[in-house]
């Protein structure tokens, strides 16, 4: 039994940042990298299945990205993942989520897992389409925004509860193998133990090239994506104004604004 978890190293922005010279992204010096929050929950869900199973379950984490991504993969290893795979080629720079999905799908074909987890979305780009793209390339069933999962290794079906608008949950039975995109709050992600961190530091991370996946530079990158970033910019400031004055005056102004909005 094998569960593959697709993870991403995401970038958070500092309070003050500068846009890159080409105007298409933020200067890397101002980015703080970490494992995507949604992926932390995906990994935990896989670990829960592994730890509660009588049969052997292998958890494999996969990411597409440059060397720095190893840090996030090691974090997954420290939390208990058995193996980590990183796919990269400089030509993959600028790939959109659909191309990333295609690369991951090729890894999945080789690994042949019984179940694939991905986060609902990444916190930096928020396309929410990588997991779904993977399912599409594999022609596997998929369920998005999974807030609860009932699945035992070996089952040919899983029952998921999907989070919908308005506080609704939708219970869905899904054939396996399947691709599930996992929602925040489905579990309580663990902290890596010190022992786990130390062991992860010595574990190998399998580096996979595009060639290993029968892909080439002509399949990836911005030029071969269906969407491309044209520019990134900070929009002009809106109508926000600072409310000045003494504390009592500020409170009075806020009450006045609220009353105006209420039509009072």
């Amino acid at each position: 039994m094998k569960i593959l978890v697709a993870v991403k190293q995401v970038a958070a922005l500092e309070e003050d940042f500068e846009i890159r010279a080409d105007g298409k992204d933020v200067d890397e010096d101002f980015m703080l990298y970490d494992l995507n929050e949604w992926d932390d929950y995906s990994l935990e869900e896989a670990m829960k299945i592994k730890e509660s199973s009588d049969t052997e379950v292998e958890v494999v984490v996969v990411s597409v990205g440059p060397d720095r991504v190893d840090e996030s993969l090691r974090k997954c290893l420290a939390k208990g993942a058995d193996r980590a795979i990183r796919v990269w080629d400089d030509s993959a720079e600028g790939s959109d989520a659909v191309v990333i999905g295609r690369i991951l799908a090729e890894v999945i074909k080789k690994e042949a897992p019984d179940m694939v987890f991905a986060g609902v979305q990444s916190s930096d780009q928020a396309y929410a389409s990588t997991g779904i793209s993977v399912a599409s390339y594999l022609n596997w069933p998929h369920a998005a925004v999974v807030a609860d999962l009932q699945y035992k290794p070996g089952d040919n079906k899983a029952v998921v509860r999907r989070e919908l608008e308005g506080g609704l949950l939708q219970e869905v039975e899904i054939n396996c193998p399947a691709v599930l995109t996992i929602q925040l709050g489905i579990n309580k992600p663990r902290y890596a133990s010190l022992r786990g961190i130390k062991q992860a530091a010595t574990k190998p991370i399998e580096e996979v090239s595009l060639g290993d996946l029968s892909l080439s530079a002509g399949d990836v990158g911005a030029a071969n994506s269906m969407s491309r970033v044209r520019r990134m910019y900070v929009p002009e400031k809106g109508r926000a104004t600072m409310i000045e004055g003494t504390l009592a005056e500020q409170a009075a102004k806020i009450i006045q604004i609220i009353n105006e909005f209420k039509g009072a």
């Binding site: 003050d16 500068e18 101002f30 130390k198």
Partner: protein
């Protein structure tokens, strides 16, 4: 023998074995060898000459690291001073915002900002708490942009003289009005300046001046005749107001004014007897917290329909035992919890509340500092994380129970043990390997741990733990034995 006993069980060296200079040099050498920018930052202030330059190379090796250290709230002042020499505007921006940046560095940055006419940096220096009076005075006298002047007027580090200069320089127009509003709320404003501003200010500013700790008595006396609500609400809380005025305020139509009287320690008992029947629960809540309530007041408040009134009385240390007994059986859990949190809550009620159906009530018993051991042992069998956190925090909890709680899967419970001042080293030892980095940071500053326990965390995977260990070593350089540090490294190298 356990791993912990072999790893942490060594006897620490006594302060008498110390050689301070050796310790300093050894620490710097180790930091250089570690090649870690955060460790380098931790010991930077100890280094001189070539060692200092090597540490700075580690800290500023990449722009990314320099930016990171410049904005980090724990970065020591000496490192921020070194970073100011880079000449990178993005780094300077972070230094201007960092609360640890020293006054001298801010002065240099002000000169740069003035030369470059960088108004954003000038504004940040104008509002920085560490900016020295000379710089702030220069900004008051020469800055041309309103934002810098407004930022300065809010800065509590601006002296009375600086604020007076600012107020005198901008004497007219909208900016003057805005500046005076801020000065009226600035703790550094002098009585004279407040009196001058008061004369030609609007009611909001005048009310702020009336509420200022330096407000002249003459203004208070004159303001007592005012019928303005803002002024009355402010004065109603002021101890300098006469009993007659408080009496007039107690009959005000405005609940805010009456609340002020109810909260005023100078309010006479006769007025409390009036306000205890007030139609506004906000007023009665203030009354319920007073330390000078008479039995007749307490009897009245005991049956108040408002939960918050009863809750406040239940927390009040003067509440007598019969009242606490009644509140311990209140239908509202918040009231019962307030009884359990009352420092005067007797054992008989703690025993009752320890079995309450509401976990927050039981948690309050667990946190109560005079809850006895036997009750804490019973509560340690609870399954609620808040109750267990309280047990973990309580200094009366037996060590045997704390030793169990350090293995809890709940981080809050384990943190409770770390914060428990009675937790012994033996109890705390497993937490040196706690998965949560913040707990390991707390262990570095825990007084129950021995020097060697802390020092052994110096190669922790988390940079904040490593930084904390080296900062601890810098601040406690005397208790560290230099020969041990160096010797330990020699032993380690031989093993390799």
């Amino acid at each position: 023998m356990s791993v912990l006993s072999t790893k942490y069980g060594k006897k620490p060296h006594s302060p008498s074995e110390l050689n301070m200079q050796d310790s300093t040099d050894a620490l710097v050498k180790l930091a250089i060898k570690a090649g870690d920018p955060y460790v380098a930052a931790a010991v930077h202030e100890l280094a001189t000459g070539a060692s200092k330059r090597r540490l700075e190379a580690q800290m500023m090796g990449t722009r990314r690291t320099a930016l990171s250290l410049a904005r980090w709230e724990h970065t020591p002042a000496s490192v921020l001073a070194a970073l100011s020499g880079i000449g990178d505007d993005a780094v300077d921006l972070r230094l201007d915002k960092n609360p640890n940046t020293a006054s001298g560095v801010l002065s240099n940055l002000y000169v740069d900002a003035s030369n470059k006419r960088n108004l954003n940096l000038t504004k940040l220096i104008a509002q920085h708490r560490n900016s020295e009076a000379g710089i702030l005075k220069s900004i008051a006298l020469h800055a041309e942009d309103a934002e810098s002047l407004l930022a300065l007027s809010k800065n509590p580090s601006a002296t009375a003289e600086v604020l007076a200069c600012l107020s005198a320089r901008v004497a007219d127009g909208e900016l003057s009005v805005a500046l005076n509003k801020n000065i009226a709320q600035n703790i550094s404003a002098s009585s004279d300046l407040l009196a001058r501003i008061y004369e030609h200010s609007d009611l909001h500013t005048q009310a702020a001046i009336i509420g200022h700790v330096n407000c002249p008595d003459s203004l208070i006396a004159a303001a007592m005749d005012s019928e303005d609500l803002l002024v009355m609400r402010t004065l109603a809380r002021d101890k300098r107001v006469t009993a007659d005025t408080l009496g007039r305020y107690a009959r005000s139509d405005d609940a805010g004014v009456r609340c002020g009287v109810a909260a005023n320690a100078a309010t006479p008992v006769s007025l409390i007897s009036e306000l205890i029947n007030d139609r506004s629960e906000l007023v009665r809540r203030e009354i319920a917290s007073r330390a000078d309530l008479l039995p007749v007041h307490i009897v009245k408040l005991l049956v108040d329909a408002d939960v918050w009134v009863r809750q406040r009385l239940a927390r009040n240390e003067i509440a007598p035992l019969p009242v606490l007994r009644a509140f311990a059986a209140d239908a509202q859990a918040d009231v019962r919890r307030a009884v359990a949190r009352n420092t005067q809550c007797p054992l008989e009620l703690l025993e009752v509340l320890a079995t309450d159906s509401n976990a927050w009530v039981r948690a309050a018993v667990a946190y109560q500092h005079h809850t006895p051991q036997e009750l804490l042992v019973e509560l340690s069998a609870d399954e609620d994380v808040d109750v267990l956190s309280g047990v973990a925090n309580n200094p009366n909890t037996p060590q045997q129970i704390l030793e169990k709680l350090v293995t809890s899967s709940e981080a809050d419970v384990r943190r409770g043990v770390i914060l428990n001042k009675a937790a012994t080293r033996k109890t705390l030892l497993p937490l040196l390997e706690d998965p949560y980095y913040l707990h390991r940071v707390l262990m570095v500053t825990n007084p129950s741990m021995q020097e060697l326990d802390k020092w052994n965390l110096r190669e922790d995977p988390d940079y904040q733990v490593r930084f904390s260990v080296y900062r601890w070593a810098v601040k406690n350089i005397a208790p560290i034995n230099a020969r041990y540090i160096v010797g330990n490294e020699v032993i380690r190298r031989r093993r390799v």
